[in-house]
């Protein structure tokens, strides 16, 4: 592989589904495209997930993660994207200009546009402020899948799983694949986060599911020996040799936080308009970095749309980045993406999530007048959407999302 290019029309940070989809679309439009991926192999998170469902929307076939990841990389490469692995982006500057490093050391790359597609990560043990000792054997799902899928290593035999998001069931599947049966699945809330049928999986596999139960302390010196939990029946210790901390995803914004780009406290990701354009309009963002977490297919489509938007932008076909209509999230609303609407196209939808279980009506209002409204009965981490077409053309100022709770 030749020298890392100094410049490309579009430089994409992150070689997961979103970044690779954007690369394919931007190449179709004739742009020069470089994808920078810090891992030794491109493909993103699906590389670790050795189970379906992947690829149904994109390739019309049910695939396991690694197959899907390879297919994406092959398509992007065939489209003529310059995919560079082992390259870490260190800093974002206006220009746009990126500081990167690889085996050759640090230097800068310039671009006409940059797409950020850095994905998400799960909250760590530290981020959850979990008590107890610090033995080996405490992992996130991502790390677990890295060990099992990429390296064939099995870090424990009787782990406890904390969390009941979709990814928690992905952890069960990974463990099952490695011949490991979790001793328990814990959920601090009173209901599982993920929807049926995933939530049936523990019962099917005879894994005890403890609702309303949280970890008080992890026990063990060298390796985990048990977890002290508090639940409806009081406190007790569950013997275990590992802990899998699942979910509570956060967008991977380590690059963006120290940069000049505006971030949204609700989504945790960069502020974008309906084209995926950031507060510095030379930067775009797509995929899970926009909000925690969506499926690979969803991220792929966002990436593809962003790739087309960048091509339109460079061709002078994208409306100006201002004036905006800003979306304000009211009480009970955790996030709404995009956070602002530029003039022009009204395709797509506002992605909305709540921060607690809510039942009632979700209302989008503009200047005190409801422009869209729908019944909801939802819980955190579940996707809601409001069509952007509901917003009148040319509207500026602030539109507010609120929930009128049912009695």
């Amino acid at each position: 592989m030749g020298k890392l290019p100094d410049h490309a029309d579009l430089v994409i940070v992150g070689g997961g589904p979103a970044g690779l989809a954007a690369a394919i679309e931007a190449r179709k439009a004739g742009l020069s495209v470089a994808v920078l991926e810090r891992e030794p192999t491109a493909g993103g998170i699906p590389r670790h997930c050795n189970h379906p469902p992947y690829g149904v929307r994109e390739f019309g076939r049910l695939m396991k993660g690694p197959t899907y990841a390879r297919r994406l990389v092959a398509e992007a490469a065939a489209a003529g994207a310059d995919i560079r692995t082992g390259v870490t982006v260190l800093a974002l500057h206006s220009g746009p200009r990126l500081t990167v490093t690889d085996n050759c050391g640090a230097r800068d790359i310039t671009a006409r546009r940059v797409l950020l597609a850095t994905g998400v990560r799960e909250t760590s043990r530290a981020g959850r402020l979990l008590g107890g000792t610090k033995p080996g054997g405490i992992l996130n799902t991502g790390a677990l899948q890295g060990l099992v899928t990429l390296d064939g290593l099995v870090p424990f035999q009787r782990p406890v799983i904390l969390g009941t998001e979709l990814v928690s069931f992905s952890a069960i599947l990974t463990l099952r694949h490695a011949g490991v049966r979790p001793v328990a699945m814990l959920e601090p809330a009173s209901t599982p986060t993920a929807r049926w049928p995933s939530a049936m999986l523990p019962r099917l596999l005879r894994i005890p599911l403890h609702l309303g139960t949280d970890i008080v302390a992890i026990e063990g010196e060298q390796r985990v020996t048990g977890v002290r939990v508090r639940g409806p029946g009081g406190e007790r210790t569950i013997p275990a040799d590992g802990v899998v901390l699942t979910g509570r995803f956060r967008p991977e914004t380590a690059l963006m936080k120290p940069s000049h780009l505006a971030l949204d406290a609700g989504s945790g990701g960069p502020v974008v308009d309906q084209y995926g354009r950031c507060s510095d309009p030379d930067y775009f963002a797509a995929g899970n970095v926009l909000r925690p977490v969506e499926t690979a297919g969803w991220s792929f489509r966002e990436g593809a749309a962003a790739g087309r938007a960048v091509a339109a932008d460079l061709a002078g076909d994208l409306p100006a980045a201002a004036p905006f209509l800003t979306i304000a999230a009211g009480e009970g609303i955790k996030l709404a993406v995009p956070q602002r609407i530029a003039p022009g196209a009204r395709g797509g939808a506002l992605q909305v999530r709540v921060d607690r279980p809510l039942r009632g009506r979700l209302v989008l209002s503009l200047a005190g007048k409801a422009v869209a409204s729908q019944r909801i009965d939802t819980r955190p981490e579940r996707r809601l959407s409001v069509p952007l077409s509901a917003i009148p053309q040319g509207a500026t100022g602030t539109a507010t999302l609120t929930v009128e709770e049912a009695a």
Binding site: G86, G105, G136, G142, A143, K257
Partner: protein, 467 residues
């Protein structure tokens, strides 16, 4: 298991045997080696810095608040001065943030003059500041500051690279390091010691007990009695991710109380923001369990000091144990008729005082040490830089790529830490030398690759084998 140098060394007589490779033992090893002694340092853990020294606040104190006229005040002053003198040569960081001692209540404000007076008596310059001046220096401080004073010379260092550098310099100038070598007993006869260890006996003219949290037990084993009793005092910490570091330019200190310096908010050498420690008595000398409720409390406390922290992520939590005793002062006990010095109770200032303590103990030992001739031209190694204050390896060519993305640790750095005279022997030791696994993702991306790189090279594997 890798062969140890100890095997080679047994049978040979050393001038000085140091028990314990905490920061104090490492500083002692360097001092005695440079002074011309043949030194052996004996550590029971698989790797060095496994005791009190593994987890502290990483502040290089000036000693402005040390009890006036005490040995502790002297050792901190001397240690601080020597660190400033040698750090650049050893490749060690010194982040000169200065500290602010902040009064939030009327009662605290009333205590500031006395604290400033004590600082002056300790020879440490301080400058009083009004509330407005304080906010001008630290605009992110929450409401309610009444007044403060600034201690310009309080600084932040890397609490692991420093002792590693002391030990490496000792080692490269002839000292012997024996890890996984617990001292279990010993006898003094014919003007010398025979120390029993888990790996056999060895002879030394002088024994120095720097066993930290086990200091009293080692005294009892070797002397039959101990002049102090260790009462471990736990300190828990919360560490925020790097973007939070810009919220505090200084080390932000509360007005200290009789028992504790209180909860500090400050940057780390690695560019994080740290909050802690607590001060909690416990009996266990080995484990420092974290308490979720206490950690939440620390987070709350931090957010009253710097409200903007509410939007920041925590990326590490940890706890350390101070080797406190039933008295506040250092417990240095010289037993002249048995050529023995116990350097005990180096409670909460050992990182700052270590080099000063080593000078002091060298003076104590001089009368019963043979003619030692200081090395004329000692080797001055440099340790790899892992702090944010100097260029890092990932910026340089040939680094073999990044293994740990959060802390930007390169494969070349990991390989270097796994080889050489001070090669890491445990995952914890590898973390302390490189910071792998210590960032925001806590191993999401790099655990698997590290398990592969370290396979067969650590005393305990990262992933245990299953039959």
């Amino acid at each position: 298991m890798a062969p140890t140098i100890c095997v080679e060394a047994s049978g040979r007589a050393f001038d000085v045997a140091i028990i314990g490779a905490g920061v104090v033992g490492c500083a002692l090893a360097r001092r005695f080696t440079l002074d011309g002694a043949r030194v052996v340092i004996l550590e029971k853990a698989a790797d060095v810095l496994d005791g009190a020294s593994k987890a502290n606040s990483a502040i290089l104190h000036t000693g402005f608040d040390a009890p006036v006229g005490t040995l502790e005040a002297d050792c901190i002053a001397a240690g601080h001065a020597e660190y400033r003198e040698i750090h650049a040569r050893l490749g060690l960081p010194l982040i000169e943030t200065g500290a602010l001692v902040i009064a939030w209540t009327e009662a605290e404000e009333a205590r500031l003059p006395a604290l400033m007076e004590a600082a002056r008596q300790n020879g440490v310059p301080v400058a009083p500041l009004t509330a407005a001046e304080t906010y001008a220096l630290e605009p992110a401080l929450g409401p309610g500051v009444r007044a403060s004073f600034r201690v310009a010379a309080e600084s932040i260092i890397d609490p692991w690279s420093a002792p590693h550098a002391y030990l490496l310099q000792a080692f490269l100038n002839g000292a012997t390091l024996c890890r996984a070598t617990e001292v279990t007993g010993g006898t003094y006869e014919d003007g010398g010691w025979t120390l029993a260890t888990r790996r056999g006996d060895l002879r030394a003219s002088v024994v120095i007990n720097a066993a930290g949290l086990y200091g009293d037990l080692v005294d009892r084993q070797l002397l039959g009695e101990a002049s102090f009793q260790i009462r471990p005092r736990k300190g828990q910490f919360v560490v925020y991710d790097k973007p939070a570091a810009s919220l505090a330019a200084h080390i932000l200190l509360p007005v200290p109380t009789e028992t504790t310096k209180g909860v500090v908010v400050c940057q780390t050498a690695w560019g994080n923001l740290l909050v802690g420690p607590t001060a909690e008595e416990q009996d266990d000398r080995a484990n420092a369990p974290l308490d979720g409720a206490v950690l939440h409390g620390l987070r709350q406390k931090a957010e009253t000091i710097l409200p903007a922290l509410a939007g920041h992520e925590v990326n590490a939590v940890y706890a350390g144990l101070r080797p406190a005793t039933e008295e506040k002062n250092y417990r240095i006990n010289r037993v002249a008729d048995r050529a023995y010095v116990s350097v005990g109770g180096i409670r909460s200032t050992g990182l700052s005082a270590a080099l000063g303590l080593a000078q002091h103990v060298a003076e104590l030992v001089r009368p019963f040490a043979p003619q030692m001739v200081p090395l004329a031209d000692p080797v001055w190694p440099t340790v790899p830089n892992i702090s944010e204050s100097a260029p890092r390896d990932y910026e340089a060519p040939g680094n073999c790529g990044i293994v740990c993305h959060c802390e930007l640790v390169t494969r070349r750095e990991v390989e270097a830490a796994l080889s050489g005279p001070l090669a890491a022997q445990s995952v914890a030791g590898l973390k302390r030398r490189t910071r792998v696994l210590m960032g925001r993702c806590q191993g999401f991306y790099c655990s698997a690759e590290l398990a592969r790189i370290t396979e067969g090279r650590l005393s305990e594997p990262m992933v245990p084998p299953h039959g």
